[in-house]
Symmetry: C2
Subunit: 232 residues, 2 copies
Amino acid sequence: MREFKRRTRVLIIDDNTDHLRGVKELITLESSFDVAGTATSANLGINLIKKYRPELVIMDINMPEKDGLQAIAEIEKLELGAKVIALSAYDDADLIFRAMKIGAKGYVLKTMASAQLIYALDEVAAGKIYLPTALTSRFFEHFQLSFREEENANSAENLLAYLTSREEEVLDLLTQGNNYKGIAGKLFISETTVKTHVNNIFQKLQVNDRTQAVLYALNNNFTNKRRAKMAV
Amino acid sequence: MREFKRRTRVLIIDDNTDHLRGVKELITLESSFDVAGTATSANLGINLIKKYRPELVIMDINMPEKDGLQAIAEIEKLELGAKVIALSAYDDADLIFRAMKIGAKGYVLKTMASAQLIYALDEVAAGKIYLPTALTSRFFEHFQLSFREEENANSAENLLAYLTSREEEVLDLLTQGNNYKGIAGKLFISETTVKTHVNNIFQKLQVNDRTQAVLYALNNNFTNKRRAKMAV
DNA sequence: CAAAATATCAATCCAAAGATGTAAGACAAT
DNA sequence: ATTGTCTTACATCTTTGGATTGATATTTTG
């Protein structure tokens, strides 16, 4: 029995018809790929995806109106297994970050050699996620920056450090939306005791009510820190 | 005046003395790098970093006790500009993700060719962030998965969709810790009106009090969605 | 051991929050 | 024109929340 290797079916979405034609020809030349269809708008493209169920989608990200990013998100939401490769003119860190965040399996610049696009297609078709090295570096700048900011919120003299372990328990239950009665029941202590703890928490966190206490806790990663502490 | 190109100073931290020696020799052979020091534990290494201020740090991530990840976090907190390259035996997606999250500028496997490590050193010394292609793919699997989960919280029939725009405004102010009076003042409406809105919000979100409403809002990305909507 | 911090409980008081019902004017859709 | 939704508003009542003071047993720590 002769083994039949099926070509990977690719759908191309690009509002620039010239560029679209160029990409189509490039892919048609490759023996391992088949162009399943083309579209010049995101909406048309999404309809074609539903119809033809391609393995790969090349999505131009610089389209007007319904922008490419949103289109990628919608394609992901369909869950038809279509792997989207973003094709963009910009190596903007934030754009790369957002594209990868919503589920793009690759990101290639239009200015890159066509061999690079073919390589990306190969990799993504094989189930990998592909980003050119230069863009990877860009991506990580943005990625690490976003976590750096998160940590700044953590430092800045954290008032949570002054809480006793019992107060932490109470605050934890507060951040789950419990009222006095609920907390008292869960900790097997009286409601008045809970009131005492809660009042002490307010003093230490310098807030006026439970909502502000909960917000302070959430904004300062209280839950995560607590879980980390518990794990030790 | 003869131009003097200074060698990039590298500090190596690895509890395996054999491996440490190997890496040291490898780097010593390179004309563009200088081994500023070596250490066999994270604590010793951190002290040497404070002392010698190297541009690069190669950190073995499979060390016992104070594990390598925690050490990287501490080095980053020093803010001495030392760029850390993680050296690990494992291509575990979660490990790569966490290393990059806390600020590693590179991640190289021990099993990789030594040329790969030198290449990583070059790239990172030049201010870039370096991950081998294979590990990039691994990283993104984890990265995208974490956001996939976040979106599940978003879908699941979101009760926030039922709020009117005015109720959204009120909820927004609730999530900032305002009480009735504060909200009334900011929206230039009476306190009783605010009460009406808040009660309607409770009904729609199926909660009993403001803390639960705020928690629901935060757990369902209310703020982000609102900002996204405003931007349109 | 003594002093300080923690955890528990109670009483009281006032303020704030929440539940419920009613209603009028604005505005959009049909 | 009429219906429906939204926004505004008020009254009333009950419940919950928050502040304060004081007290006791236990634990931690210097």
